[in-house]
């Protein structure tokens, strides 16, 4: 990129080892995934050899009600968590963008959930907090004299997953938006204050527009990570009841590692990657070239 070393010998070979590892683990297997999606293969039936079956896997998926439900769930989990998470993160960023004693500690505590592994998030919420028999849920319900909600039944499971996703990802979005607020030019806000803009007006007419690029980045990260949520679903609901709380990630796993339908699982992966790329492109077409700098 920079021409400082023009006269030197080439150094491009330095990229080779790392590139090789990335290719071997991510790119080549994905090509295999595409190939497998046209194959009928059950690993646990060694008597039946894998055989080419054209578009049968895709045909099966798109004639299966469960699959549409799973796609719908993926949209809900991703979309709702992202919108709620961004809104919550924005409010928190506004609140925590000030100086007070212990602000660093307060922020660090706030973002802790982001650093907790998904299985632990799932376990803690499912048992200690939300369990309708022995959890905090039970204790509080008893205190207020109401019946404890069972958060993981067919009516609530999907929304409970959404809550856990919001809880896990809001801190990360918060950090991005907070650093946006902190990089905001003081003069603009001072000028607004002098002109008599109210708090709300400052937020709507100055902070929001100036934060736009940060919202884009936060939205991008959130979108990508929420589309691949897996561990939280795996440990709390196993996608159930039925497929009530399964998203595409989890459905790939279940089809591949419980039903051992390799071809069908591959087809779901292909749909999922296509969907990811499509969404990323639709939502962030205007993102432009990330390496272009002033």
């Amino acid at each position: 990129m920079f021409a400082v070393f023009r006269k030197e010998k080439r150094v491009n070979w330095l990229e080779a080892p790392g590139l090789a590892v990335v290719l071997v683990v991510t790119q080549i297997p994905f090509v295999v995934t595409i190939a497998l999606s046209f194959v009928n293969w059950n690993i646990k039936r060694p008597d039946l050899d894998p055989s080419f079956n054209g578009l049968d896997n895709y045909r099966f998926l798109f004639s299966d009600g469960d699959f549409y439900r799973v796609i719908w769930n993926t949209f809900i989990i991703t979309g709702v968590s992202l919108v709620v998470g961004l809104a919550l993160a924005f409010l928190l960023a506004l609140a925590f963008n000030r100086d007070f004693r212990g602000v660093a500690v307060a922020r660090s505590i706030l973002v802790m959930p982001y650093f907790v592994m998904e299985p632990v998030i799932g376990i803690v919420w499912k048992t200690l907090i939300l369990s309708p028999t022995f959890g905090l849920n039970a204790a509080l319900s008893k205190l207020f004299g109401v019946d404890a909600t069972s958060f993981f039944d067919s009516k609530h499971a999907l929304w409970t997953i959404v809550i856990l996703c919001v809880w896990q990802w809001t801190p990360f979005l918060f950090l991005i938006l907070l650093s946006g607020l902190q990089s905001m030019p003081e003069e603009v806000l001072e000028a607004a204050k002098v002109d008599g803009a109210s708090r709300l007006q400052q937020i709507i007419y100055f902070k929001l527009p100036l934060l736009k690029p940060y919202f884009k980045v936060a939205g991008m990260f959130g979108l990508i990570n929420l589309l691949k949520v897996f561990g939280v679903i795996f440990v709390t609901t196993q996608g159930g009841p039925g497929v009530a709380s399964a998203n595409l990630s989890y459905y790939v796993y279940r089809t591949g590692f419980y039903d051992w339908q390799v071809g069908r699982a591959a087809a779901i992966s292909v749909v999922m990657v296509a969907l990811t790329l499509l969404l990323v492109n639709i939502v962030f077409r205007f993102q432009g070239d990330v390496t272009k700098r002033s």
Binding site: N12, I176, S183, I224
Partner: protein
């Protein structure tokens, strides 16, 4: 008037926000608290209790120690390999002579976006055939491959921030490529690389999909242990909380101190100013 009022309110606002943060992270504190309770005080929850270390005493057994060791060994090896392979890539993208460095950079960024489920089936087949299932070496390889693109993403932006003029000055003073890297570029990006590696560490430590798909007992990491604990001994919440506290300790402490610099590397490249 307004000024003095807001000044008087300031400590109150601070205390309020601190309380808000604690409420938000409450499930974590509650879990840690439960880990020091007797089982009968955990469920149903009891406010008054005599703290005990019994849960930890019971839960720190060879099984947990093995998973903890796996987590440490696999994560450290993956982070080291990521640094070894990823930093040169960033260097080549910024200072090398690739024909299209920008599109190569974008390729790495896109790779971090791809969901891991896109490759779990073929990798499972290949890995089973190669006899690598449930081995530490496999997990190190997988995590290096997912760590490298993330590191490249963050590292390139740090290297682009190094002023060209000081590198040119070093060249005029007779530094060769290696010396210019060793004495000029590396010191300038060291902090950034460290925070990028910290993020790789946290992501690797917490990774669950590959771990649960490809490991059982030999190379299982803590996320796998926690999941199994939940299904096998899910009724003992006190012990479960103790195990979970041990599992999240390292990344949470890292995050506590490094959250600010983690964000910087991801942002400098992505937000045009």
């Amino acid at each position: 008037m307004r000024v003095s009022r807001s000044r008087r309110l300031r400590p109150l606002i601070g205390a309020g926000l601190l309380a808000l943060a604690v409420v938000y992270a409450f499930p974590i504190f509650y879990m840690v608290l439960s880990s020091f309770k007797n089982e009968r005080d955990v469920a149903p929850p009891r406010l008054a209790f005599v703290p005990t270390l019994d849960n930890y005493r019971e839960v720190i057994n060879p099984d947990l120690v093995q998973h903890l060791t796996n987590s440490i060994v696999i994560t450290l090896c993956a982070v080291a390999l990521t640094a070894l392979l990823g930093v040169p890539i960033a260097y080549v993208i910024v200072y090398g002579r690739l024909r299209k460095p920008t599109s190569r950079y974008n390729w790495y960024v896109t790779t971090t976006l791809l969901p891991a489920v896109a490759v779990i089936m073929p990798l499972y087949v290949i890995v089973t055939k190669a006899g690598l299932l449930d081995s530490r070496a496999l997990m190190v390889l997988l995590y290096t491959a997912t760590g490298v693109p993330l590191l490249v993403w963050m590292c390139v932006t740090y290297m682009m921030d190094v002023p060209v003029s000081i590198i040119e000055a070093a060249r005029i003073d007779g530094c060769d490529r290696w010396q210019a890297f060793r004495y000029v570029i590396f010191p300038a990006v060291r902090g950034g690389v460290a925070s990028a590696l910290m993020l790789v560490f946290v992501v690797t430590w917490n990774e669950f999909l590959f771990a649960t798909a490809y490991t059982f007992t030999q190379a299982g990491t803590l996320p796998v242990f926690m999941n199994r604990y939940m299904t096998q001994q899910g009724l003992f919440w006190g012990k479960m909380s103790a195990a979970a506290t041990i599992a999240i300790l390292i990344p949470v402490i890292l995050g506590f101190f490094a959250q600010k610099s983690l964000i910087k590397g991801l942002l400098t490249g992505a937000v045009k100013e």
